[in-house]
């Protein structure tokens, strides 16, 4: 389970962020409150990504498989961080 969590952490946080934004946009429509919540959620999820990044970097690989998991995890977390910022951007632009 720990391996799967590490492997998919970034993508799961990205997904949570997206659906949270969808709920915010659907309930509070295009309002200042919705924008503020978007910002808060984006910061929260970016923080979660940072936390997992630290954990993934501390993960000491023993085998080739461990190294593979670590590299996928790190790249996934990095990509997800960019994606979360990108996903939150409409709240500033629209």
């Amino acid at each position: 389970m720990r391996t799967w969590a590490l492997l998919l952490a970034g993508l799961v946080i990205w997904t949570v962020h997206f659906f949270a934004l969808y709920i915010v946009g659907s309930i509070w429509l295009t309002t200042p409150l919705a924008r503020a919540l978007t910002l808060a959620l984006t910061l929260l999820c970016t923080g979660a990504i940072a936390m997992f990044l630290v954990r993934a970097r501390r993960y000491l690989p023993e085998t080739a498989m461990d190294r593979w998991v670590r590299s996928i995890s790190l790249v996934g977390l990095g990509v997800s961080a960019v994606a979360i910022l990108w996903q939150g951007l409409p709240a500033l632009l629209i």
Partner: protein
């Protein structure tokens, strides 16, 4: 060396063995896995046969839907043509889209998986061969009946996405829409059965040593496909159920005058419909990644990035459904979120494209038929991807929406992303299943005709759309400057068809199915499907040490064929395969596999009969078929979950494996968990519908049923879960006589029934009826789902009692009981949530 299950990895060093194999071992293996003959083909369950049947059937539907497209192109070649009347044209475009998506594309990607995966993973077969057979026959028989509706003028005519209110009873009063709503029921069942098979197969039946990092990239693609199907399909299952309930019983889910909302359908449909595109594309992308490496004669560049791209696509594809709804008046901020996600999804697709180009660039590519189809597919897909980014821009989408530009875009994506790779795969893998490969010369002709035909057909459609021609019109007036581009598109369609015809001629001339005298590895692929095989797959199951084992160890094929690896014969005299751990693929136990049986075939026939007869409102025969389908499934299950006399066996070189294992590590447990995720997703989407309608139509809502009734409902569900778990615990006690697991489980099912009965009684007492409003409709829909779960629970209780009475629920642990307990615990949890959540909101 870190282990996942405690397995000693040094045991791998014993392979390949050097001792000669015993006399008659191979003959015994061949006898056990013998090929079916004549009518026995209907009872075949082996993946070699089911895979080929499946591919052939899916291709048949591709041809049929293609013929519909050709007739439509003739109709549109000139303005005011009278070849197809409007009503028939509506049926044609609806059936073209529906058949291509539901009867060709999804089944084809699953079919290729059924055919290739066991060989690629060096398993004897997929873990549930009878389920594969059932999925295929239900799909094939049901699909043919569904298609035949066209000949009676009864085919659906509301477009492949069946938007209400067009498809509500008011505007579609006949049974055409019901054909779609009920007719694809068996396809949904079939797709989910296939997904369960594929997920468990990839995670649990890989060759020993094939850790996740050494897993073929195609297996990764199929794993993501399986997960996407179990998340996405429940949404359309629920949508079709709700629309059919509205049509049959007047429950107003989509009727805004009574608290429903037509847009709810669009949300449900596209939550399935957009991931569907990736469900089709990802497996094809996996195939391309395998073939590009083989054709370029070099390992795939960016293997890890491609795996990550698959995973990312799997996640993000669920965040783009509303880009099909940009013109429906969603809040601006929501539109912004979906637009951003729609642009982001092109990034993982781009990673794959660049990886393939890089692999070709660093390798020594051969420009043969498979390579041409690969390159043609990549070029076409890139064009479709770029127009996809264009329509992700909201202002552009507002202009292009529902125009021929979208038709061009989606065909570029689907043909480039799936159809061309599929033809490449046919040319590349035919030598694995045929005595002769397909012809290079005819293949190149077929490619150029298809590629040119594709561009000539669909490129002008961009212009036709930008000039304003809407989709789904059966004709148009002269003088609107659409004549020239339409004529070019029609000519191109026949060029494309000529290419497909040439391919068929090639197949008729060269393809000769075989399982043991195939043409072999003529393209020098590096993965395990190119090992010498019989119906039992590889003679012995190798220990995998790299991603391309055949390139790494040129002697591997010979060693495997000589039986120098694991399971070189049959250890129990039955069909069997090795189940391995999900991460590191360590051998865990020997799975005894079921052999040929007529019951999956009969169950499938009756399942298809149930849905089709229900559609034409022949209720008694339909329900008879439903009952017979259940009986056949139970009969097929009756033969399973039996112990063999050998408790452990030698799987080769002294590696001993148990033959019967219970609990969370078993493949059956995994399959049940996946099934429960499917059921759970249906429930989640039903809850979404409930809260969505409350959000947009709360003025129609009345006070919910009294919360005080939860004092009866929740304890009943708690008792059900508790009794079920107790039945599992009691099985381990040798001296239990009266409170046997069967009795306890029966009591658990009764408690479930009491829970849902009390909930139903509470709502009826509140005065709310399902026809009254969106609230009534969704509340009773949620209760109906629970009733369905309880019904299955009761059936399981009867089945367990029958097995128990025959002494087949063996102590101290039994898989049948374990899985049934999981079901009841889940049903109790869902019932409790239904009870609480439906009482949360109201007037």
């Amino acid at each position: 060396m870190r282990t996942e299950t405690g397995f000693d990895h040094s045991l791998y060093d014993r392979f390949p063995t050097s001792d000669p194999r015993p006399e008659g071992e191979l003959e015994e293996l061949e006898r056990i896995w013998c090929a079916p003959k004549g009518w026995q083909l209907l009872t075949a369950v082996n993946n070699n046969y089911i895979g080929i049947f499946y591919v052939g059937a899916a291709f048949l539907f591709f041809l049929l839907a293609g013929i519909l497209a050709l007739v439509m192109r003739v109709q549109l070649a000139l303005p005011l043509q009278g070849i197809l009347p409007q009503e028939t044209y509506n049926q044609f475009f609806t059936m073209h889209g529906t058949v291509m998506m539901f009867l060709f594309a999804v089944p084809m990607v699953e079919a290729i998986g059924v055919l290739l995966l066991p060989q690629m993973l060096a398993a004897r077969d997929l873990p549930f061969p009878r389920l594969s057979a059932y999925a295929f026959w239900a799909y094939f028989v049901g699909g043919l009946c569904f298609f035949a509706s066209l000949f009676f003028g009864l085919a659906p005519d509301g477009g492949w996405f069946m938007y209400p209110p067009y498809t509500s009873l008011t505007y579609s009063p006949g049974i055409n829409a019901d054909f779609w709503l009920l007719g694809i029921g068996f396809i949904e069942i079939s797709a989910i059965a296939g997904a369960i098979e594929i997920i468990v197969g990839v995670l649990r039946t890989r060759a020993p040593g094939m850790t996740l990092d050494k897993m073929p990239v195609y297996a990764w693609a199929m794993l993501v496909l399986g997960v996407m199907i179990i998340i996405a399909f429940p949404s359309v299952i629920l949508g079709t159920l709700l629309l059919e309930l509205e049509r049959a019983f007047n429950w107003p889910f989509f009727d805004p005058t009574r608290g429903g909302d037509a847009l709810l359908w669009q949300h449900l449909f596209w939550f399935f419909g957009h991931p569907e595109v990736y469900i089709i594309f990802l497996p094809a992308s996996g195939l391309v990644s395998m073939m590009v490496a083989a054709m370029a004669r070099t390992p795939l560049v960016g293997h890890n990035l491609i795996v990550l791209a698959f995973l990312a696509t799997g996640f993000i594809s669920f965040g783009v459904w509303a880009h099909h709804m940009f013109t429906t008046g969603l809040p601006n901020l929501s539109i912004g979120f979906f637009s951003a996600a729609s642009m982001a999804v092109s990034v993982p697709a781009g990673i794959q494209i660049f990886s393939w180009i890089a692999t070709f660039a660093v390798g020594r590519p051969r420009f043969n038929a498979p390579t041409l189809f690969l390159l043609g597919g990549i070029v076409t897909f890139v064009v479709g991807g770029l127009t996809g980014v264009m329509v992700a821009m909201v202002p552009f989408d507002w202009q292009a929406h529902d125009s021929y530009f979208i038709v061009a875009h989606l065909h570029y994506v689907l043909l480039g992303g799936m159809v061309f790779p599929m033809f490449a795969a046919f040319y590349y893998w035919t030598p694995m299943t045929s005595r002769h490969p397909l012809s290079e010369r005819l293949g190149k002709w077929a490619f150029w005709l298809m590629f040119a035909g594709m561009q000539v057909t669909f490129w002008p459609m961009h212009l036709t759309g930008l000039m304003g021609m809407p989709r789904r019109v059966y004709t148009y007036l002269p003088g609107r400057e659409w004549e020239v581009t339409n004529m070019i598109s029609s000519v191109g369609a026949f060029m494309l068809a000529a290419g497909v015809l040439l391919f068929l001629i090639d197949v008729a001339r060269s393809f000769r199915f075989t399982t043991d005298h195939d043409a072999g590895n003529i393209y020098d692929g590096g993965t395990l499907e190119w090992l010498p095989t019989g119906l039992y797959s590889a003679r012995s199951i190798p220990v995998v040490k790299s991603r391309e084992p055949l390139w790494e160890d040129p002697g591997l094929a010979e060693d495997v064929k000589a039986g120098r690896y694991l399971l070189p014969g049959s250890a129990t005299g039955l069909r069997e395969t090795i189940v391995t751990s999900p991460l590191l693929a360590e051998p865990q136990y020997l799975q005894i596999m079921p052999g040929p049986s007529v019951w999956p075939f009969l169950a499938a026939i009756f399942t298809a009969g149930f849905f089709i007869l229900l559609t034409i409102q022949a209720y008694t025969p339909s329900f008879t078929c439903g009952v017979l389908a259940v009986v056949c499934v139970l009969r097929w299950l009756w033969d399973t979950d039996r112990r063999v006399k050998e408790v452990t066996v030698d799987a080769g070189a002294g590696v001993r494996l148990p033959t019967y294992v219970t609990g969370p590590s078993t493949h059956g447990w995994w399959a049940m968990i996946i099934l429960l995720i499917v059921v759970g997703m249906i429930f989640v989407m039903a809850l979404f519908s409930f809260f969505y309608l409350f959000g947009v139509q709360s003025q129609f809502w009345q006070a919910p049923a009294p919360a005080g009734h939860l004092a009866i409902i929740l304890p009943a569900y708690l008792a059900a879960a508790g009794l079920a778990l107790l039945s599992r615990r009691m099985l381990a006690r040798e001296k239990t006589e009266h409170w046997t697991p069967g009795v306890l489980y029966l009591c658990a099912a009764a408690a479930l029934a009491a829970g849902v009965g009390a909930d139903m009684w509470s709502w009826i007492g509140s005065g709310l009826v399902p026809e009254a409003s969106g609230q009534g409709a969704t509340v009773y829909a949620l209760l109906s789902l629970e009733v369905l779960l309880v019904g299955v629970g009761v059936l399981m209780a009867c089945y367990l009692c029958a097995r128990n009475s025959r002494g087949m629920i063996v102590r101290p642990r039994n898989n049948s009981l374990d899985l049934c307990v999981l079901w009841v615990v889940y049903a109790a949890a869902q019932g409790s949530m239904t009870g609480v959540l439906t009482r949360l909101v109201g007037a």
